[in-house]
Every structure is written in structure tokens, then in C-alpha cells.
């Protein structure tokens, strides 16, 4: 690789960094994405000029097919399916790394010479990371799309089997590195790594998929970096490291917001552990004995219409009922009446980090009305009405009050500090954690049962006449 080509790749990497920096504000983010895309274009054009490339026909063929498929996917995907989309894109990135490593391996083995150790290490590492990213991401996407059961699928002895598989793969990698070339063993390494990706993701429940998607996002970056090691290209390494870091940070954020450790998400089986009568201490029992207070749509509408300030807390139940546009309509009506309306968004609202913000942005909610948990929490104490729509665990005061609760310690939205709380919910079924929610039994809480979208439509009609 010549000097100017190295510099061109460096320029591309710099543009990626500048693009990511622009993502620090919604106003500059779109430009940032374009800058990043320009960086990618520079990298692609530079590679086309590489002297190692003898024919461009095959590249154009693959490029046209891939671009067409990518563009179609990007246009067709509904915003609610964004977690699956990111999962699939991750998978293709990992798959590409796997294929590059395999092609390099085949080329080098053809020469009949023993692979140098440093080359061999990078090829086998890239094979492993690429394969796990590919099959793991595809399974995660299939789970989110409910093509395979979304719940945690367990099988006896899964941890020992996974561990043995990992050890076997590492042993095979080391044997291939120091020993003679062995095509059958290399194929087995590929197959084993693909199997590992499936086995690692299949036991994780659908509600934990945000963490898995974030982690696989990190892997796809590491896969790209490992390709950089294979073809000795620093531009790829820098870029892959950036993405790897981004995935690690998002994974940490998601784990913290769900009050779980990464190990617990990956190997825990949370749903089973939590349902064993958890959270039924004396305090909760006394509260639940009192029963909930149900409210009619008319009363809820009056409460909202004559409030001074309202904070809306959207949860995944809202996305499921596709009621984002109705929320905005209700908020518009209230604002016309002089009510101040804000949105409080928990980091795990929706199915991936920031998912709820995208869904509300799609419904034309202005981004300066969307507040993070830290920003909005001090405001509940002087807010008239908190309107909780399809959220549950993220507003459960047990996270602060009940040390025995599995939710204890999880950061929550301080909804219970508002003067009035209206909870829109389909039924009294507990949330994902399987814990009773103290908030529902609070004296100032009114429950409005029903499908979120239907209830919102009826609220809108009532507020119009109020």
C-alpha cells in the first residue's frame, strides 16, 4: 500500500470521527451522518485504485447487488422494527469479515507455504469474531421479528456445552496457527463458530435483546478491526475500534438502566428467577390489598385539560399499539389549552437504546420536548399530572423503596412525585420483571385500562369538548 493511500484511509477514519462527533446534537446529526458517508466513499474509491485489484467486474457485481438490497431494506423497514434492522445489518458486517478471512486463508494456503504466525492469528481471530457476529445477529433479529420464539430458550447443560465449544474453537485456532494447514479443521472452525453464535443468543429472552444488539454492534466493529489486521490496513483498524467502543458504551448504558450486569444478561435466565414470589413483602401486600382506583376517560380528560403541566411517560406498550401519533395529537390539544407538555423517556423505553425517541420523532414530536431521565426527574415534584402510557417497571417506586425487589437499585422515572398520576395500561399484568408495581396502588394514581391507542383516541375526543 502506497503512502498516499494510507493517508486517504486515515482521512476516511478522521471523517468518521468528525461524523460521530456531530451526533452529539440532533441539529447537527444528519450532517454528521453525511460526512461519515463521504468518508466511506473515499475509502471505497481509494481501494478501487489499489494495484492489487486486477478486475473490477466482480466488485461492481457484488457492490450493485449489496447496495440495492441495503437501500431497499432501509426504505422499507418500519421504525418499530429498527432493532431487527440494526441486528441484520450487524450480521452482514460480521459475515463480510468472515468471508474476507476465509478468502485470504484460501489464497495463502494455495501458495503451499506455512502461514506466518502473525498472519495466521489474525485470520483465525477474524473468522471467529465474524462468524459469531453473523449467526448471533441473525438469531437476535429473528427473535425480535418473532420468527423464532422470543422467550429465553434453555436446554440442559447449555453453559458447559458452550464452554466446551469455546475451548474447542480456541484449541483448533491454536493448532492451525502452529501446526500444518488443515482445510477440514479450518472448515470445522467456521462451522463451530457459527454454531457458537446461535447457542450464545438463543437462551436470551426477547426483552433482553437491546443489550444483545448493543453487544453485537460492538462485535461488528471488532470484526471490522480484525479484517484490518488480516489485510494490514490501519484505516480499518481505527474504524473498527471506534465502532467497537460505541457498542461497548451502549451495552454498559443498557445494563445499568436495566439494573443487570452483562454476565447476568448473557447467562442469567432472569424471567425464571424473578417470578418466584418476588417483591411480595409486607409493604407491597398492604398496598395491593387496598386495590387500584380506576378512572373513566371523561375524568382523566378533565384532569389533563385543566392541568398546568403534564409529563408523558411513553413505554413499549405505546409502540406496540402504534399510538405515537395519537399521543402527539393529545399533546397538541393540551398545549393549545395552555398546558405545558413534556416527555420523560427512560433509557430502556422501547426495544433498543433511544428507540422511543425515534418513534416519537416519527410522529413529529419536537426533539426539545423529549427529556432524558436525569433531566426530567427533578421536574416531577412540581408537575400536575404524570401520564404513563404502556410503561411499567421503569416507573416502579420499588426500585427505590423495596430492597427485596429484583428492581431495587434500578434508576427509575420519579413519576410518584407528581401531584396526580394517570396510568394507561391494558391490564394489571406485571411488567417484564414480574413484579407488582406499587405506583398503581398509590392514592394519587388513577388507572385507565384499555389498549393505549383506543384510550388515547377517546381522551382526544373528550379533551376537545372539555
Amino acid at each position: 500500500m502506497s503512502g498516499w493511500m494510507q493517508l486517504a484511509y486515515l482521512l476516511a477514519a478522521v471523517l468518521f470521527i468528525v461524523g460521530l462527533k456531530r451526533l452529539s446534537h440532533p441539529a447537527t446529526a444528519r450532517r454528521g451522518n453525511t460526512i461519515s458517508a463521504v468518508g466511506m466513499l473515499i475509502a471505497i474509491v481509494t481501494t478501487l485504485l489499489d494495484q492489487q485489484i486486477l478486475s473490477v467486474e466482480l466488485i461492481v457485481l457484488g457492490g450493485v447487488l449489496g447496495s440495492g438490497a441495503g437501500l431497499w431494506m432501509a426504505r422499507a423497514v418500519p421504525m418499530t422494527a429498527m432493532p431487527q434492522m440494526v441486528g441484520i445489518l450487524n450480521g452482514f458486517g460480521g459475515g463480510a469479515s468472515l468471508l474476507v478471512a476465509a478468502a485470504e486463508w484460501h489464497r495463502l494456503v494455495q501458495t503451499g507455504e506455512q502461514l506466518p504466525v502473525d498472519i495466521a492469528v489474525t485470520i483465525y481471530a477474524s473468522t471467529l469474531i465474524g462468524a459469531v457476529t453473523f449467526s448471533g445477529s441473525m438469531i437476535a433479529a429473528a427473535k425480535l421479528q418473532e420468527l423464532v420464539p422470543g422467550r429465553a430458550v434453555g436446554f440442559p447443560g447449555q453453559h458447559p456445552i458452550n464452554l466446551m465449544l469455546v475451548v474447542a474453537l480456541l484449541a483448533a485456532g491454536i493448532y492451525l496457527t502452529v501446526g500444518p494447514d488443515h482445510p477440514e479443521l479450518f472448515l470445522a472452525l467456521n462451522a463451530g463458530a457459527l454454531l457458537l453464535g446461535i447457542l450464545l443468543v438463543i437462551p436470551i429472552g426477547g426483552a433482553d435483546m437491546p443489550v444483545v444488539i448493543s453487544l453485537l454492534n460492538s462485535y461488528s466493529g471488532l470484526a471490522a478491526a480484525s479484517t484490518g489486521f488480516v489485510i494490514r490496513n490501519p484505516g480499518l483498524i481505527i474504524t473498527g475500534a471506534l465502532v467497537g467502543a460505541s457498542g461497548i458504551i451502549l451495552t454498559q448504558i443498557m445494563c445499568k438502566a436495566m439494573n443487570r450486569s452483562l454476565l447476568n444478561v448473557l447467562f442469567g435466565g432472569f424471567g425464571a428467577a424473578a417470578s418466584g414470589g418476588a417483591g411480595t413483602d409486607a409493604r407491597t401486600a398492604a398496598l395491593t390489598a387496598r386495590g387500584v382506583r380506576e378512572v373513566t376517560v371523561e375524568d382523566a380528560a378533565l384532569l389533563l385539560a385543566f392541568a398546568r403541566s403534564v409529563i408523558i411517560i411513553p413505554g413499549y406498550g405505546l409502540a406496540v399499539s402504534q399510538g405515537q401519533h395519537q399521543v402527539r395529537e393529545l399533546a397538541d390539544l393540551l398545549e393549545k389549552r395552555g398546558v405545558s407538555v413534556k416527555y420523560g423517556i427512560h433509557p430502556v423505553a422501547g426495544r433498543m437504546p433511544g428507540h422511543m425517541n425515534v418513534l416519537l420523532a416519527e410522529a413529529n414530536v419536537s426533539y426539545d420536548k423529549l427529556f432524558d431521565m436525569e433531566q426530567i426527574n427533578p421536574e416531577f415534584a412540581h408537575t400536575d399530572v404524570a401520564l404513563v402510557i404502556g410503561a411499567n417497571d421503569v416507573v416502579n417506586p420499588a426500585a427505590r423503596n423495596t430492597p427485596s425487589s429484583p428492581l431495587f437499585g434500578m434508576p427509575i422515572l420519579a413519576v410518584d412525585q407528581a401531584a396526580n398520576v394517570v396510568v394507561m395500561k391494558r391490564s394489571m399484568n406485571p411488567g417484564f420483571a414480574g413484579v407488582e408495581n406499587e405506583l398503581f396502588y398509590d392514592r394519587k394514581t388513577a388507572m385507565l385500562f384499555g389498549n393505549a391507542k383506543d384510550s388515547l383516541l377517546r381522551l382526544i375526543a373528550e379533551v376537545k369538548t372539555a
Binding site: L23, R30, S55, G70, H106, A224, A245
Partner: protein, 95 residues
């Protein structure tokens, strides 16, 4: 210093740059951040193009073409869907 060591140094430093830049992205933009950084990880396209273009062996060339297609799905799909999302983030726009 061997080439591999230099590359490991570069990788490590770039991870730190990544941490610095990414921690400044607000939670509101975490979904576009994921799809956008995903598109960036499609940089594997560089490796894919090289193995497809060298055509060292017929087998390697076939793998290369598939790799190019996969990486391009990652790149084009990632940037396009990120742009679609970011286009929706607007400030107060009354009908």
C-alpha cells in the same frame, strides 16, 4: 517493532478516541448512533473489495463477491436508514 505490534497500538488508541466521542452522544440519538456506527463498521468493504478484485483463486473470488455484497448491504443500508431517522428529528414544527 513488528507490524502487528504497531497495529495493536493503533487499535488501542483508537478505542480511547471512540470512548471519548461516543460518551458525548445524548440518549435521544442512541438508535441512530447504533445504525450509523453500524454503517461505519461496513469498512470491511475495503477488505472485501481487495479479495474480490485480486481473484487469487476462483474460490477466493466467489467469497470476495459475496463479501462485497454483504458489506455493501451494511454500508448503504446503514447510512440510508440512519439518514431516514435523523431527518425525522425536528424542532417545533406546527402544522
Amino acid at each position: 517493532m513488528s507490524v502487528l505490534v504497531v497495529l495493536v497500538v493503533i487499535f488501542t488508541l483508537a478505542m480511547f478516541v471512540g470512548f471519548e466521542v461516543i460518551t458525548k452522544v445524548p440518549p435521544t440519538l442512541h438508535t441512530p448512533l447504533m445504525s450509523g456506527s453500524n454503517a461505519i463498521s461496513g469498512i470491511t468493504i475495503v477488505g472485501a473489495m481487495i479479495v474480490a478484485g485480486m481473484g487469487a483463486t476462483r474460490f477466493a473470488a466467489v467469497l470476495g463477491v459475496i463479501a462485497v455484497a454483504f458489506a455493501m448491504i451494511n454500508v448503504v443500508g446503514g447510512y440510508a436508514v440512519t439518514d431516514r431517522m435523523l431527518r425525522m428529528f425536528k424542532r417545533e414544527r406546527r402544522p
